[in-house]
Symmetry: C2
Subunit: 518 residues, 2 copies
């Protein structure tokens, strides 16, 4: 025979089991502070890594990068970069870049209004943040629709429900029913109230950055000085590949870095479209853009917290559509990790997929992404839960699926118990050849917590599963998010703080919000 399993053993039904998402009898709070345990997997040799590094420095020296912001160029000029009149182009001597990035902290704490939700970014730490920025959202009943405040709030509430979601990564869906001038005020104050986790502010002009900083300061109930001492807000800065940083991105770095808040500098280098068709070439360009932006943060304020974001993937050469979770994406993620370890800078990656529905494709693209980012030693994972369609849709069901996948990754990172009790020789002696372990004391002491109890996986046999209507993983996820949302409770917030927050939002709305000419 080859591995024909015995028919499922009908073990006695144990008391105290529920079908809830939280593990019965086992707190999920242990999912809050994750650390890597495995040595990272290199995909290129040391020499090849040097070749990518050298190519990126050559790009910055010879070709340069467009910094579309006068003040940024003046700052860079003062720092010694090659900035010429009437041109956005900035060229960097390699030494300038390499000296500047030396002040990047290798790890830092991102503070939340609930100190138990603070996250450590860098080193061996692993932080998961919810999906950010899709213009659409979807669920099984409601279908696909444009983002709106109701869905936005529900997705934020779901982020609060799971300890494995450590941070809110941005707007989990873009609520386009809110006017752009005041959207950031409503959204950020919602996030600050509906969750007690660290969060993100978009860099879409100075006013929005400053409003975000004030909202997080009020929510934490701290002074400006304490905020500057404790990074409490992060902002993703995307270069406009190839080789350009636009005005709001550079304003964002100036506003955030000068106040010691976290920047995640992420080139979006799609090989074959905005980057060379080769992954090594796309990585060289990614690295040039990342190093230039990261160096800028350190020139603005040496020691300001900054994260290196890798987002190199390939496009479908038939349609030009971005692809994710591909072998090429995996290699880029692994190589990006090697670059970050070389520089001693925390590494940001993503749980990405291009699927249009929560089917096998969505799952394999996501697990390939998780595989690469775990073996690549990523420290911060944006879009960790909920991302679909290459970022165009936030799916309620995919969010639940991803929570399950992330929890499985967290379980993989827990050590095996190889103590004498873990090895269980006494149980093996007791059972002996031909027996079974269902009733042994060793089993009974451990069965409730021995294994991860998945949210989604349906392990019923085919007949029972068929009688239940042959539910797919997507249908199971659908039931779970509805239950979790129904059970959502707002985390406590001091009444005075909430009042101050509301007053700030009301005042800024009265002032007209932020400019919409970005």
């Amino acid at each position: 025979m080859t591995d024909v399993p015995s028919p499922p053993v009908a073990a006695r039904r144990r008391p105290g089991r529920s079908s809830g998402s939280a593990r019965p009898g086992r707190s999920t709070a242990r999912y809050r502070a994750l650390k890597h345990r495995f040595p990272p997997t290199p995909v290129v040799s040391e020499d090849e890594l040097e070749a990518i590094h050298d190519a990126s420095l050559t790009i910055l020296e010879e070709i340069g990068m467009d910094f579309v912001h006068d003040e940024a160029r003046q700052i860079l000029k003062r720092a010694g970069a090659d900035v010429r009149a009437d041109s956005a182009r900035v060229r960097f001597d390699s030494d300038l870049v390499l000296q500047a990035i030396k002040t990047c902290p290798s790890e830092f704490t991102l503070h939340a209004r609930n100190p138990e939700r603070n996250v450590r970014i860098g080193g061996k730490h692993l932080v998961f943040a919810q999906v950010a920025s899709p213009p659409n959202c979807s669920d099984l009943q409601g279908g696909r629709r444009a983002g709106n405040q109701r869905d936005f709030r529900n997705l934020v509430r779901l982020a609060q429900r799971f300890d494995i979601v450590h941070a809110v990564g941005g707007y989990p869906v873009e609520p386009v029913d809110l006017h752009a001038s005041i959207r950031h005020l409503d959204c950020l104050s919602d996030i600050a109230k509906l969750t007690d986790k660290p969060f993100h502010a978009y860099s879409l002009g100075q006013a929005r950055n400053r409003d975000g900083l004030e909202i997080v300061r009020i929510a934490r109930g701290i002074t400006h000085q304490q905020l500057e001492a404790e990074p409490s807000l992060f902002s993703i800065i995307n270069s406009s590949s190839p080789l350009r940083l636009d005005t709001p991105m550079l304003q964002g770095i100036i506003e955030m870095s000068s106040r010691n808040q976290a920047i995640m500098l992420t080139p979006f280098t799609l090989a074959g479209a905005m980057a060379p068709v080769t992954i090594a070439g796309a990585l060289a360009q990614q690295n040039a853009e990342a190093l230039a932006g990261i160096a800028f943060t350190q020139i603005v304020r040496p020691g300001a917290p900054v994260v290196y974001g890798g987002f190199t993937s390939n496009v479908d050469m038939k349609s030009g559509a971005p692809a994710f979770g591909t072998p090429e994406y995996m290699k880029a993620v692994l190589a990006g990790g090697q670059l970050c370890r070389k520089y001693g800078i925390p590494y940001r990656s993503s749980n990405a997929c291009a699927a249009n529905t929560v089917d096998a494709q969505a799952a394999y693209e996501s697990v390939f992404s998780l595989w690469a980012l775990l073996q690549g030693g990523a420290n911060f994972v944006l879009h960790a839960a909920g991302w679909m369609e290459g970022g165009l849709t936030s799916s309620f069901e995919k969010f639940i699926l991803d929570v399950d996948l992330l929890q499985m990754v967290a379980e993989l990172l827990t050590p095996l118990d190889v103590s004498p009790a873990g090895l269980g020789l006494d149980a093996i002696r007791e059972v002996g050849p031909g027996g079974h372990y269902f009733g042994t004391a060793h089993t009974l002491e451990r069965f409730e917590t021995a294994f991860y109890a998945p949210i989604i996986s349906d392990w019923r046999n085919f007949e029972t599963w068929s009688e239940a209507g042959s539910p797919t993983a997507m249908q199971k996820a659908n039931a779970v998010w509805q239950k979790e949302l129904a059970e959502y409770e707002r985390p406590p917030m001091d009444a005075a703080i909430e009042e101050e927050l509301d007053a700030f939002v009301a005042r800024r709305k009265q002032e007209g919000g932020a400019p919409t000419d970005f």
Copy 2:
């Protein structure tokens, strides 16, 4: 913003693209000889590995293992094992086991009737074999049904269609419409004719092993002497966990190993059922069973090719049903690889899942399995394509999905081109800030082969995909296997060999086939 992708760029439709499974303009023959490139990931420390190793030797010394076969016990007694009258129990001195396994080859070639399909097992080599042994099969149109000859043959034909499927792992579905006495004759001669790849014979009694050896000898057109010099058949030997090897399994080892054919010794140690509820305990038991069986192969014939099979997973503690692709399964696969590297014995693993349909669960359990076996350095992967329901069903759609997943793993193992041309500095100079790479010479020279073209993944945008009827990965896989089956061609076989094969099968059928009293 955070990583909002641009709308898909409508690149020009390129000529010469097809939607076939084979990569246009690129042979898939390069998927034939795969090698690991990454350092394996350890899940336990060296000390912890020693503790598992020591525990398994203690099990074999103190508890022993039941060898349910007189001849096997006599062989072991002559070799110095502690064998007592009127008991199946055999206890092994640690030195006896460790001395015996020293003669295991660290790698060997498994020969096929087409020498281009020979596979190398061990070292850095990675071999994928089709699903084996499910009693049922299923496809989208036909639903789930008991195994039968027609489906058996179609699944064997599909194995022949893809270079990434390196071997036939057994019967891809059990054809229960064939009488058990002659089933092996029909099935093995079918496999020998319908494919030119290496294959497996079940150890279900001496007669079946010997018929299998004769069929492979005839198919290869070689002498008995050459067959004995060139391992050409393999047989999975499952211990009956805990700690028992049954009669047909031990007969199989004697028949196969004495003729220098390959044994894959695989304990099926489900933590919480047939093994301790702790993964470390299940691994200690797995290792004891594997070492005892492997030692027996070497006592039968020192140097006989043998593979260490790891199949430790957990059960659902609610129902007792086996679970696969879980975090616990992954840890067991990683640790099993560490044990095999310690002993210098090739390592067999599986692409396992417990899902009832080809949904997200099927995909994530499979990719978690592939993740673990790749990072665990597995050399031979049984059930690599087609396995569902923990081995109870062979799915035509899952087979295609798995082929796609395996090809992606193979692509991950191809090196990045970090040459000057791969780094593409000239293209980056040409495009410069703010441009795009669609039309550059660097892109045009490479776009056809730059990226893996997946079989299943649907990268169309949501609108186009919706207009096409919102197909899921399962539906796409369904179309692919039907097309592949329609295009199947039998690999050439010498007429004289085919005649001899048919004559042998006819004669053995006339003789009544093999005993069915197993």
